[in-house]
Subunit: 306 residues, 2 copies
């Protein structure tokens, strides 16, 4: 089942208490595809400027990432610069330079019009609409957004919600969108406005899958060392979508398992700077991490009887 | 297996955005026993002043709570007054009046010297030592504490840790005790200083059971309405210990199940003011809530194969 992601292909400069990186590969589509490709081939739709180190993207291609949907435009690539607090609990954006992303209009290669699993990364909701217009009959559309769009383009975003199957956001975004600080009521509000499900990411406190009448919770993996939280949410999305595309299904049981794959990918993402947390990760490592999640959260069936 | 709790029997005045109570039954031993007695008989050791509404305690006795270890001393009962923020995320202590608790010296009735399951609620660690001195051969000793004792009586507390099987604290206490902000490293630090296990409560983000080489995580139950977080941690402890005393065992598998019973009791506690969240809870409700936790966190065994 063809899996595509539309999102940013960026250059990140990150400062944490443990070190820093400058102009490293980043952006939602990059984190998504590096994680997702451990489970299923990922087609990326995005844009880079003529200053982008495309050789580095090409080096990632053999993992199962198709970059042919990434336009090369004249101008500067999207750059983000951020700094984390001593305990990595909060971060400050020092600089955002949109570059060629400012005038980006996603155009899908013809081969991707038949895509079945679609992840709309956090971009202008008008562009997210534009992507959906180009896809004939998707099986599952999942969409991210951020406070900036909730504040500046809420009507367009609300229209978009009617076209997506799952909204995947973090807790502050769910609260801002719904105007409700209780995360479970916020989730129910979102379900009443279009999506059949909502995934709410809570950083080091895990993530929730809220469906009508049923909720699933996966914690973050217990890590004694966290180096760089950047991209953890996008890696989560990559694991989530990669698992579903591989399974070719998106019913409740598969979605719950997809949450665990997402959390596994998030745990790899934060273990090193940038995308380096995935450098040595094999599919065997992924399955081991997923099993470790079951041990973290499950009481053996035979033992559940009081 | 005899289960005892030593802790405060207090009168709480609580202000939340949803209402307030004045001089209502509260204190760690009360929340613990109201929850724990849904699973196993609880013997309470504590003290009240001559102003305490003992008739209200007596009314709870038929649930399976033995108050005969609660001294009646001349003077005022322990009173606590607190106010919660609009989102219940933080609270301010408006007043603490120790009353007869200031000179309390726990003396166990002879019948309780043979207690097997012992919960040392959050009191002066010197008194916690004094309680342990009176118990001949406990099966499991679990102990709570708070930042006040960590700051004022750390050496006594560190000695106590060598005598307890499980330290059960909240995340800020684990961080302060260990001096480490990473909660998993903090847990490991505690394991290196005496207890064989540590339970770290994280409020609305659930609780961790950290054992050497293995961790279990239980989330908080997804509630759309939370009225009063007071006593949730003590109710958790009551469910945890009540389950273990009923099982008569405290191995890793039983401890993991006990975490789920604890979380179930915490979810009842916050659903009403004070101890009223337990008013209509039956043992059937408890088992239903425990099963709901499994549905919240578990991927069915047959479905775990990718």
């Amino acid at each position: 089942m063809t899996l595509i992601v539309v999102g940013s292909v960026a250059l990140d400069s990150i400062y944490t208490p443990f070190g820093e990186t400058a102009d490293a590969l980043g952006g939602s589509a990059v984190y998504f595809s590096v994680a997702g490709s451990l489970l299923h081939r990922v087609h990326v739709v995005g844009v880079v400027g003529d200053d982008y180190p495309v050789a580095e993207l090409d080096r990632l291609a053999p993992r199962g990432i198709d970059w042919s949907g990434v336009e090369r435009a004249a101008g500067e690539s999207f750059r983000w610069k951020g700094k984390y607090s001593y305990d990595l609990q909060s971060r400050e954006t020092l600089e955002t330079r949109l570059g060629v992303f400012a005038t980006f209009q996603p155009r899908l290669p013809a081969a991707l019009h038949a895509a079945k699993f679609v992840f709309l990364g956090n971009i202008d909701p008008e562009l997210q609409h534009g992507v959906l217009d180009q896809i004939t009959s998707p099986t599952l559309v999942v969409c991210d957004t951020m406070n900036y769009w909730i504040q500046s383009k809420k009507p367009v975003l609300m229209e978009l919600l009617k076209r997506v199957d799952i909204l995947m956001v973090n807790d502050s975004e769910a609260r801002e969108l719904s105007g409700d600080w209780n995360i479970h009521r916020a989730g129910r509000w979102i379900l009443a406005h279009g999506p059949k499900r909502v995934v709410i990411k809570q950083g080091e406190f895990g993530a929730l899958l809220i469906e009508p009448g049923r909720t699933f919770y996966v914690p973050a993996f217990p890590l004694e060392e966290v180096f760089d939280p950047t991209g953890a949410g996008d890696a989560f999305a990559g694991g989530f979508m990669g698992y579903l595309a591989r399974a070719g299904m998106a019913d409740s049981d598969h979605l719950r398992r997809a949450m665990v794959y997402g959390a596994a990918m998030g745990s790899f993402a934060v273990s090193q700077f940038g995308i380096r947390g995935f450098d040595d990760v094999t599919t065997v490592d992924v399955e081991q991490r997923v099993r470790a999640f079951y041990d973290l959260t499950h009481v053996a069936e035979a033992e559940r009887v009081p």
